[in-house]
Amino acid sequence: MSNTFLTACGDRQSALHAHGANAQKIFDLIWTFSAVAATVWLLVVLVLATALLRGNLAKASRSPLQIDADQERRLTRAVGSATALTVVVLIALTIGSFFAGKSIASLSGSETVTVRVTGHQWWWEIRYPKTDSSQAILTANEIHVPVGESVKVKLDSLDVIHSFWVPSLAGKRDLIPGRPSELTLTADKPGIYRGQCAEFCGYQHAHMAIIVVAESREAFDAWRSRQDANAVTPASDEERRGQAAFLGTGCALCHAIRGTPATGTVGPDLTHVAGRRSLAADALVMTPGALAAWIADPQSVKPGAKMPRIALSADDLNAVVTYLGSLE
């Protein structure tokens, strides 16, 4: 169904494949902690095995053993040293974790791009605020970022709690109604990174994915200025029919297409919908067929989705698909 993994080699949603400074620092921490954990576990199991073997080599006895004072002293010393060692290891890990946290926090403050992300059941609203050269733009489920630059992601939610998580780029952060938050991420190299809502948010929590497209500064600026433009006006009869159907059947109550009378804010902004890689929060690849299937019966693709089924004649449906397909 979803396409982004195909184009992105399967390592684009993994904390083990860090492609940004934030995720990289955590990745290092994961390895440090894992190595310590494995060592400690091995030591415990080895000592346990030795204890079992040495006790078992002696003849097992049914009657309780007498306590040997010398042995008790040796055991006390051993347990004492093991405890002391535990304390030292834990202090070291706490300090390591503190400094990793500090260095991740220090990533913020140098951002060149700001994106506002609002969580909805079950899609992501993406807003790029107005800059000197561009107006504020609205899109959905796909964030574009310039490679190598710090991006500030401002998070909020208007319905339930979601969590913004693109593991290859950064750790996650919750979107809690009434509590705006933010995180900083950087993509080290161009690519398509996938993320997913990480806090259970209801029916279609599984289909609330987000895509981060990291591209060169030029490509990003070009994308940004394409997004600045209003939607193209329909060029063919079919597209005009599609637009009329879109505006006339209730789609416009929920969706906006800049430059048309459609100004709904309940669902994603569709001004440049055909330029996106996927549909319905990466539940479907963006193709005319998928678009048609989605519009014809959203509930069969994503049961529980807030988009209702709208009765369109086959011709109207095709026209709407053609029209939306023209909105690059």
Binding site: M1, N3, T4, F5, G10, Q13, S14, A15, A23, K25, L29, I30, F33, V36, A38, V44, V45, L48, A51, R54, G55, N56, A60, S61, P64, I67, Q71, L75, T76, V79, T83, T86, L90, L93, T94, G96, S97, F98, A100, G101, V160, I161, W165, S168, G171, R173, I176, P177, G178, R179, Q196, C197, F200, G202, Y203, H205, A206, H207, D282, P303
Partner: protein
């Protein structure tokens, strides 16, 4: 006394015998008197009215295991769906109910109650008394538990199963987004069921402090009893937090309060603070008694007392305290000032110290002993092997930056199953094998026991270890499906197949129990040659536990005096009486009457349960329900019989 017709006449007849003490009575007459005083009537009435801690404890265990089966089946159904990417075997709606029911059942209806069940059964035997301090409260708590749990599952059967996760975060579970009556059922039934946990906690604290056998000073209390005592205190402080928060949730939903609505000055985060203030100690409510099992089983099978008794007791108390200081590590992704994060990181890591001390002491015990590889010990070894993994991943999730990657992924699913199954279920299964002979009078099959262990051990590790990696590879929790291109498919298939092995392991346990109940080798009083008081009486123990109450002179009473356990005399045998002593030194202070069988705990539980149930539909239920509840409690506590006329 119960209200059976004919009983009263019989009592008047017996008045001539009133005040008979056990001093100097010959054994047969003593046992006959005690059996009469402590007996539970036959038939349905007796079954409903009994206050015998052993009958209630057994019932508790069986009920908890039935809920385990339900929770296990829901887990299998989830694994069936997740075995392949983009599978459409289970609808998202049903899947969400499944994992909510799995978590709710495992935590609220299996893990905590099963630990309480063992406590209720074992503690009076281990401290040498005849019943818990509040026997009717004990019966009441069971009825609450079984009716609350059943109502949760009946709701599920009627498609009203909770579906917002066992943590029921608001606003998802709140008035605007919660579907139908689902969150209402969850909230009310959780509050209701937790009444039983509180009741058990109160009764265990009173029992351990006041009813210990003479001479059982604080430093002679069996470690298992110490562990459940600490647990009882943790329950006492943790459970109210979840009861308060679920009550606030139902008020938001039914009465229109706005506790969790940010638009009206409420706060969605408040729910999480309250829930995890309970939810983290909850893990220790399950884990601490499990460590008690280990401390009870280990010495028996390595033939020496536990090394570091004092260290273990202090560790238990430290774990109890620290468990309250780290709830925020469930909420790192919500964002906190860095100093606050560091505090909770440090306190979360610190709990590894007392946990570590216990592990070191147990290994030292084995080091100084001569292990006999009976099934209970094998499960304890499996516990150390797996629990240390869960403990170490616990240290990992205590680190804020690391947690921000693994939180709400399969890594965390793996982590807490290692802690809860590795840390609590392995010792629990060891405990089943260890105490089954005491409870039933028959041994479980050792052969099947070893098979049981290997299936559970391998099934568990093969199921849950790969989840660590899946989580790091980016697989979030609580998703009913995942894309084909994610690359998670083969690992998930492997996990689903392994879960069948784990399931087969539990099937072997139940098979072993059923077979051995009929055909098991007769156990005798003390089949393992253990050291604590429960092994001093017959298997299964008589209704009065001990013909004479034992006197304790040593930490391992049965090892110190294998043949002649000293006893204390002077208790009445014609009525239920227990011996109360001082808190610290268990010096006998007074003879206490112990409550007789009564139907009123059951009827009161029905009144309370009905009120909670009706309150899901109307707040007026609280007003009208007060009437039957009052009647139930008044009849329950109504003084019966005359005050004792002698002495």
């Amino acid at each position: 006394m119960s209200g059976m017709p004919g009983k009263k006449a019989k009592r008047i007849e017996e008045r001539g015998l009133k005040g008979i003490r056990d001093t100097g009575l010959d054994e047969a007459r003593l046992r006959a008197f005690l059996a009469h005083a402590w007996h539970t009537p036959k038939g349905l009435y007796g079954w409903l009215a009994t206050v015998d801690h052993k009958l209630i404890g057994k019932r508790y265990v069986v009920t908890a295991f039935l809920f385990l089966i339900l929770a296990g089946l829901s887990a299998l159904a989830m694994r069936f769906q997740l075995a392949a990417p983009e599978a459409g075997r289970i609808s998202p709606d049903f899947y969400n109910q499944l994992f909510t029911m799995h978590g709710t059942t495992m935590m609220f209806l299996f893990a905590v109650p099963v630990m309480e069940a063992f406590t209720v059964y074992l503690v009076p035997l281990m401290i040498g008394t005849r019943n818990v301090a509040f026997p009717r409260l004990n019966a009441f708590s069971y009825w609450i538990y079984v009716s609350g749990g059943t109502m949760i599952w009946i709701a599920f059967a009627f498609n009203t199963g909770a579906d917002a996760g066992w943590f029921s975060y608001v606003p998802l579970a709140g008035p605007d987004y919660g579907i139908g009556k689902r969150p209402d059922f969850w909230a009310q039934m959780v509050t209701y069921t937790e009444v039983s946990a509180l009741a058990v906690a109160v009764e265990i604290i009173a029992t351990v402090f006041k009813l210990r056998a003479p001479g059982m000073t604080l430093d002679r209390i069996p470690l298992y009893v110490w562990s459940v005592l600490v647990t009882a205190f943790v329950i006492l402080f943790a459970m109210p937090a979840v009861m308060v928060s679920s009550t606030m949730l139902i008020l938001d939903r039914l009465v229109g309060t706005k506790f969790f609505d940010p638009a009206a000055g409420g706060d969605a985060l408040l729910w999480q603070h309250l829930f995890w203030f309970f939810g983290h100690p909850e893990v220790y409510i399950i884990f601490i008694p499990a460590t008690g099992f280990v401390s009870a089983i280990l010495p028996t099978f390595v033939r020496r007392p536990v090394f570091g008794y004092l260290g273990i007791v202090l560790s238990l108390i430290a774990i109890g305290f620290l468990s309250f200081g780290l709830w925020v590590h469930h909420m790192f992704a919500t964002g906190l000032p860095q100093l606050g994060e560091s505090f909770f990181t440090a306190s979360s890591m610190m709990i590894a110290i007392p946990s570590g001390i216990q592990i070191f002491c147990w290994i030292a015990t084995i080091w100084g002993g001569r292990p006999i590889f009976a099934t209970p010990l094998v499960f304890v070894l499996g516990f150390i092997f797996t629990f240390v993994i869960g403990g170490m991943t616990g240290v990992m999730v205590a680190s804020v930056p690391l947690d921000l990657q693994v939180h709400d992924t399969y890594f965390v699913v793996a982590h807490f199953h290692y802690v809860l199954v590795g840390g609590a279920v392995f010792p629990l299964l060891g405990a089943v094998y260890y105490w089954f002979p005491k409870v039933t009078g028959r041994m479980l099959s050792e052969r099947l026991g070893h098979w049981n262990f290997w299936f559970v051990f391998l099934g568990f590790n093969l199921t849950f270890f790969p989840m660590h990696i899946l989580g790091l590879q980016g697989m979030p929790r609580r998703i009913y499906t995942y894309p084909l291109e994610s690359g998670w498919g083969s690992a998930n298939l492997f996990i689903s197949l392994s879960s069948l092995v784990l399931f087969a392991g539990f099937a072997l346990l139940f098979l072993n129990m059923l077979l051995s109940l009929r055909n098991g080798r007769p156990a005798g009083d003390n089949p393992w040659g253990a050291s604590t008081l429960e092994w001093a009486t017959t298997s299964p123990p008589p209704s009065y536990n001990f013909p004479h109450l034992p006197v304790v002179t040593h930490r391992e009473p049965l090892w110190a005096r294998p043949d002649t356990l000293p006893v204390i005399e002077g208790l009445r045998v014609d009525a239920r009486e227990v011996l109360g002593g001082t808190v610290a030194d268990a010096v006998p202070q007074l003879r206490l009457p112990s409550a007789d069988n009564s139907i009123w705990p059951l009827l009161s539980a029905i009144a309370v349960g009905g009120t909670f149930f009706a309150s899901i539909y109307t707040p007026w239920a609280v007003v009208w329900g007060a009437i039957p509840i009052s009647i139930g409690f008044i009849c329950w506590f109504w003084p019966k019989g005359e005050p004792e006329d002698e002495e």
